[in-house]
């Protein structure tokens, strides 16, 4: 029995029919089919199956784009529009995953370097000590990082009014000077539109205040510990009062100022000094006020600079020059006032206020040793002398105060009283 050995699987014959073989494999199968009748029969059978299946035809329908498809197309066109162009550009940029990863990595490194650079420039002791805020002068920070100020507050009405005032001053000057002084108006507009040179704050600015009322048994120790706690947390005493009458507990009322970031730690330490009677904390967000103040300050400085330049470089009528000088003085006064206000606000934010009331837990004590007899006699004699002197003094004072009035009344009433007295005596005699 001679069996034909086929060099390929029947499935490969099918794949040959379906065009799924490579050119080499197809050549081998084709050569084999020339020689092998059985395989040709298999191929013919498979071909008949395919031909038989072709008998099941589906009548073609004249499809039109339906309303739903048309609507979807319109929606898609609307969605694409402008956004699509951007997406397309980004897709080209990120066509490959590794490219996207490289871009993302590069951006992350850049952001990290930028962040670290910002920290190193704005950092330092002051920033660390005043951790929650950035309270350095706006002009100083602006000069270091002109692009950092991304907080754009609402335009300050003062900024506008300053610009308007400056504009009024300029009316009397030459047209050239007028052109020069139109800049403050532009500056005010820049403030209104959120110019990039505006100062900003890195986080919320909150004035923190806390109240703590304690009762302690060891008042002296608490008083000493209070000093230690303040030194530990770099705080200071703004106000301190102690008092206490004999026979009652002593009290201490103090207003402490501690760095805002040390407030919680200070409270924890202070609570250990005694029993907490009451405690309260509050915070006032002054971020918007601070930023507004900085914007006004910046604008005023710009105005001052422009006026100074004007005085230095330009000439005009004497009256106009004097008016400009007055305006410079006024602007400088406003700047100093705002600067003081800004520092005060920064101080309030950077240093929290802690009101502490410590009361001694007083216990009345029994008088176990009575005073001696001599002491009691001596005390009695002294008290008697004192009461005698007091009595004489009181009489003297009474006479001095009321004597003239008494004499007057006696003089007035003496004769009527004598007359009445005589008549009474006479009637009794009869």
């Amino acid at each position: 029995m001679n069996k034909i050995i086929h060099p390929m699987e029947p499935e490969e014959l099918m794949a040959y029919l379906d065009g799924e073989l490579s050119a080499d494999q197809s050549a081998i199968v084709a050569a084999h089919l020339n020689d092998c009748g059985e395989c040709r029969e298999v191929v013919a059978g498979l071909r008949r199956v395919s031909q038989g299946l072709e008998a099941w035809e589906v009548k073609s329908v004249d499809h039109q784009v339906s309303a739903a498809v048309a609507v979807a197309l319109e929606e898609n066109a609307g969605r694409q529009g402008k956004a699509f162009v951007v997406r397309k550009t980004w897709r080209r940029l990120f066509q490959q995953h590794w490219q996207a990863a490289a871009w993302a990595g590069g951006f992350a490194v850049f952001a990290l370097v930028a962040y670290m650079g910002t920290q190193s420039l704005t950092g330092g002791k002051e920033t660390q000590a005043l951790a929650p805020i950035t309270d350095r002068p706006a002009a100083e920070r602006r000069s270091e990082h002109p692009t950092q100020y991304n907080y754009a507050p609402a335009p300050s009405p003062n900024a506008k009014s300053q610009a308007e005032r400056v504009g009024k001053v300029v009316v009397g000057l030459t047209s050239e000077l007028s052109t020069q002084l139109e800049a403050p108006d532009a500056q005010a507009e820049k403030v209104a539109s959120g110019g990039s040179n505006l100062p900003t704050v890195s986080g919320p600015m909150i004035i923190r205040t806390a109240q703590l009322s304690l009762i302690t048994k060891d008042f002296d120790n608490a008083r000493a510990s209070l000093e230690t706690i303040l030194k530990r947390h770099r705080g200071y005493v703004a106000d301190l009062k102690t008092g206490g009458a004999t026979g009652s507990g002593r009290t201490l009322n103090a207003t402490l100022r501690v760095p805002a970031d040390q407030l919680d730690a200070s409270l924890i330490d202070l609570k250990a000094l005694g029993r907490v009677e009451s405690e309260s904390q509050s915070g006032q967000d002054v971020t918007s006020q601070y930023v507004d103040l900085q914007a006004r300050l910046s604008n005023a400085r710009n105005t001052e600079q422009r006026l100074t330049d004007l005085l230095r470089n330009r000439t005009g009528k004497l009256s106009d020059v004097l008016e400009v000088e007055q305006e410079v003085d006024r602007v400088r006064g406003e700047i100093e006032q705002m600067e003081a206000e800004r520092k005060n606000m920064s101080n309030q934010v950077s240093y929290a206020t802690l009101n502490v009331a410590i009361a001694e837990d007083y216990k009345a004590q029994l008088q176990v040793v009575p005073p001696s007899t001599w002491t009691r006699l001596s005390n009695a004699s002294v008290e008697g002398y004192k009461s005698m002197v007091e009595g004489v003094m009181s009489l003297a004072l009474f006479l001095l105060e009321n004597g003239p009035s008494l004499l007057l009344w006696i003089a007035i009433l003496f004769l009527p009283a004598r007359l009445v007295w005589k008549r009474v005596r006479r009637s009794f005699a009869h």
Binding site: K3, I4, I5, H6, P7, M8, E9, P10, E11, E12, M14, A15, D18, E20, E38, C39, E41, V42, A44, G45, L46, R48, V49, S50, G52, L53, E54, A55, W56, E57, V58, K59, S60, V61, H63, V65, S66, A68, V69, A72, L73, E75, N76, A77, R79, Q80, F84, R87, K88
Partner: protein, 200 residues
């Protein structure tokens, strides 16, 4: 002739003409796909049309996320397969009894092709789907493999089994079957090598 992928990218770029060309190319094949696989009733025809339109709507809505990694043809049929699966689930919920496996419809078949439908009904469902994708949708083995998420060799073996079974149903006495059985019994060198390879 512009390739489907190019047209798709143009449509992605906002070209409505590109979409209309794609629509013209695929409306017939997609309709045939749905028509052959939906149940045999009067509603199936309009439903096939609806599903064809829904396929294009899905393409439109997802065009922004399209990436030319696979053939557009595969992309379209993948959407069609999902829509058909959803349709079948919906039909099973609506039907009080519900058929476990939907039967292929006549698809406007004349009486002369009735035997084809009956023969296909006798096939195993997975083999029938592969056979229909190959014969009617003209998809390649690799495309079927991608669509159904099964290995390429499985596609080939199931397709072969389906064809042989169909041939048996159509021609029970065909000598082809005997010949194939003889070939299966014959330990060909290639087959031996494959068995050894799999064992390894």
């Amino acid at each position: 002739m512009i390739s489907d992928e190019t047209l798709m990218l143009e449509f992605q770029g906002g070209s409505r003409a590109a979409f209309e060309q794609l629509f013209a190319r695929y409306r017939g094949p997609l309709y045939g796909y749905f028509r052959r696989r939906l149940n045999r009733d009067e509603r199936a025809r309009s439903r096939a049309e609806d599903l064809t339109q829904e396929t294009f709507i899905a393409v439109i809505r997802a065009v922004a996320r399209y990436e030319p990694r696979a053939l557009v043809r595969t992309y379209f049929y993948a959407i069609a397969i999902n829509l058909l699966a959803a349709e079948r689930r919906s039909q099973q919920r609506d039907s009080p009894i519900g058929k476990a496996a939907p039967e292929p419809s006549t698809g406007d078949a004349p009486d002369t092709s009735m035997w084809v439908r009956e023969a296909l009904q006798k096939l195993d469902e997975s083999e029938r789907e592969i056979l229909m994708l190959r014969e009617y949708e003209q998809l390649s083995y690799s495309e079927i493999s991608d669509l159904l998420k099964i290995p390429l060799n499985t596609v080939r073996s199931r397709l072969f089994r389906a064809r042989i079974a169909l041939k048996d149903h159509l021609e029970p006495s065909a000598r082809c079957t005997d010949a194939r059985r003889k070939m299966d019994d014959t330990p060909s060198p290639v087959k031996l090598a494959r068995v050894e390879g799999e064992a390894l």
